[in-house]
């Protein structure tokens, strides 16, 4: 509950101003939907993606 499971890994993009956006992929070459992350870490912060708590 509350977790989104992706069959194909989403693509995380970061704008120059720090904002993050996820492309949830329909397949390898098609974007199913786009989700904007409401929190902005700020431009000096760069994301590294991983499953650190093992929730899949």
């Amino acid at each position: 509950m509350g977790h989104t499971v992706f069959a194909i890994r989403p693509i995380l993009l970061q704008h120059d101003d720090g904002h993050l956006t996820l492309w949830l992929m329909q397949d390898a070459t098609h974007i199913g939907s786009t989700v904007a992350v409401d929190q902005n870490p700020g431009a000096p912060w760069k994301p590294l993606v991983g499953d650190f708590n093992g929730d899949g």
């Binding site: 977790h3 409401d38 499953d51 708590n53 093992g54």
Partner: protein
């Protein structure tokens, strides 16, 4: 670190858990993530750019459950860069992919923490990757 991603409204999402990890100073950079100890939780490989020392934080959510310097990494010098942490040998544990400024590539496999409660870890197998000759014969290729 931000955790627990969830879509909140159509087209929007948020991470409900956020926490700061320890700050080792501006010379340390998180380079890649992967599950080095096989606990199904990704860990973090860091690299210090003034002495080429690599380190691994074993993660449990927002907690660093153990931290290790990687033996032998500083001796490689600043021309080698840890660029990925992936399971290259199919043992369900991440390995380190290195690339040299020359274009050369190496893989370190089989993370071994310790011995004992020590803060140094090693990789039991270390290989240079010998590529096929690329079409141009020049070092224009980069591992992404």
């Amino acid at each position: 670190m931000w955790e627990d991603f969830a879509v909140t409204t159509p087209g929007h999402a948020a991470f409900s858990l956020q926490g700061n990890l320890q700050n080792n100073g501006p010379t340390w950079h998180a380079k890649a993530t992967g599950d080095f100890d096989g606990d199904n939780k990704d860990d973090i490989i860091l690299w210090q750019n003034d002495n080429s020392q690599a380190a691994i934080w074993l993660m449990d959510g927002l907690q660093v459950k153990a931290g290790y310097d990687v033996a032998g990494s500083a001796a490689n010098g600043p021309s080698w860069h840890a660029i990925a942490a992936r399971d290259m040998d199919g043992d369900d544990r991440a390995d380190i992919l290195w690339q040299n400024d020359s274009g050369a590539v190496a893989v370190w496999e089989d993370f071994v923490p310790g011995p004992g409660s020590g803060t140094t870890a090693s990789f039991a197998d270390q290989f240079n990757v010998v590529p096929d000759v690329n079409p141009t014969g020049n070092l224009y290729w980069h591992v992404l």
